[in-house]
């Protein structure tokens, strides 16, 4: 194990050991990126509750009462999940919830695009109607798919370095 012949590639088992050493660090990176994005996105929306409700309303998907609750509550859900992921507490459920959220966001943006609405996704504050040539549905979906992949990785491998979570 200690000396590896460079001309003789190590057997599969030893490569797995390498993966086992790297995976927790990948999970840490995934936690920090996903958690950081959620925290920032949530915090930017918490500042302006009216704008947040307007951003939800622009999707034209929810009834009025729900639009208000989602507009006010969703940013705090994002902040909560962001903090959990950054600290590494409850990583697996938090990542699962974040992944679910990303699926909802992707579906929302895709449906807005499909219905021919021209809106800003309101992902990082703002939102609402924009000029038809100023929509960015493609980028918004690509970004959310990327975050969804990170969430998926964390659900599969929640153990990570620099985490407050006690070892199992």
């Amino acid at each position: 194990m200690t000396s590896v012949d460079p001309h003789n590639p190590p057997p599969a088992a030893s490569r797995d050991t390498g993966m086992a050493a790297v995976a927790p660090w990948i999970s840490t990176a995934a936690r920090l990126i996903l958690g950081g994005v959620l925290l920032v996105a949530g915090a930017l929306k918490v500042v302006d509750p009216q704008a947040s409700v307007a951003a939800v309303r622009a999707y034209e998907l929810l009834p009025t009462g729900l639009e208000t609750v989602v507009g006010w509550g969703l940013p705090f859900v994002e902040v909560a999940l962001g903090l959990l992921l950054l600290t590494g507490l409850g990583t697996r459920p938090a990542a699962a919830a974040a992944g679910l959220l990303m699926l909802v966001f992707i579906a929302g943006v895709a449906s807005a695009a499909a219905r021919g609405l021209s809106i800003d996704c309101g992902c990082f504050g703002g939102g609402g109607k924009v000029a038809p040539d100023q929509t960015a549905y493609g980028q918004e979906i690509v970004r959310d798919v990327g975050l969804l992949l990170l969430a998926g990785w964390l659900v599969a491998r929640p153990q990570s370095r620099l985490s407050l979570e006690p070892a199992r």
């Binding site: 918490v46 302006d48 009216q50 409700v53 940013p75 859900v77 902040v79 924009v130």
Partner: protein, 244 residues
């Protein structure tokens, strides 16, 4: 002789089981703490936002002269401020609940007020109402205030308090904090939505002009690209238009 090792094994098994139980307990506590944290943060957050949107309005940071010439509210026609002889006309389409409009006002209100006071521009205000009921209520209140002769300070107050939902009480209270008097006529104008038809006609007029979002600006009928616009940039544009 064989009893001792088996007792030791039993002891060890008991220890392992105890440790596992302790770990499970720890996990349960962790889960409970995490769930409580999320529920409190989200529940508290919703409560906090409900308070923020329902509280009383506060005075706009930069006080404008309260009194202005009372405006006449005519269907499909904007509220107009500034000298009739001003060389440049600036048409402004805004929704009182549009976040970008609030940002725009924070950044550019100073430039527009100065240009108006120096007689360079006349501002045509088209208060649109496409975001929610609060937008429509605020646009109606705006018309009431313009009619009552305290339009500009009320306008500044509406944007300074754009996180409010704009209930009738808030719109009436805003007249007071804007330095005006909430006369019975103004109060009735707000609560009865006296200018609801006018608000609708402004929406239609904006649509006919091809306004798809807010804020939208026209300088002497020419659309101004708001993206990337700076206060100095707008000042220059106004000065150039005034020289033509």
């Amino acid at each position: 002789m064989s009893a001792a090792p088996s007792r030791r094994a039993a002891e060890q098994a008991r220890l392992v089981a105890e440790q596992a139980a302790a770990r499970r307990r720890e996990r349960r506590i962790l889960v409970a703490v995490v769930v409580a944290f999320v529920v409190l943060l989200v529940g508290g957050g919703i409560g906090f936002q409900a308070w923020r949107t329902n509280r009383a309005p506060t005075a706009a940071p930069t006080a404008l002269p309260v009194a202005s010439a009372p405006a006449t509210i005519t269907d499909a026609r904007p509220i107009v401020w500034g000298s009739a002889e001003a060389p440049v006309t600036l048409s402004l389409y805004e929704d009182f609940h549009c976040p970008h409009c609030a940002e725009f006002e924070e950044q550019f209100a100073g430039v527009l007020t100065r240009a108006q006071q120096s007689g360079q521009i006349r501002v045509e205000l088209y208060p649109m109402a496409f975001i929610d009921q609060g937008s429509a209520a605020a646009a109606n209140g705006m018309a009431c205030a313009a009619e009552a002769g305290f339009g500009p300070s009320y306008f500044a107050g509406l944007f300074a308090n754009h996180t409010l939902q704009w209930s009738d009480d808030q719109l009436i209270e805003l007249a007071r904090v804007s330095g005006a008097e909430a006369t019975p006529a103004f109060t009735t104008c707000v609560t009865s939505r006296a200018h609801a038809d006018w608000v609708e006609s402004i929406n239609v007029a904006a649509e006919q002009r091809g306004v798809t979002g807010t804020p939208t600006l026209f300088l002497d009928g020419k659309a101004v690209d708001v993206a990337g616009l700076t206060p100095t940039g707008l000042e220059t544009m106004i000065a150039e238009a005034a020289q033509k």
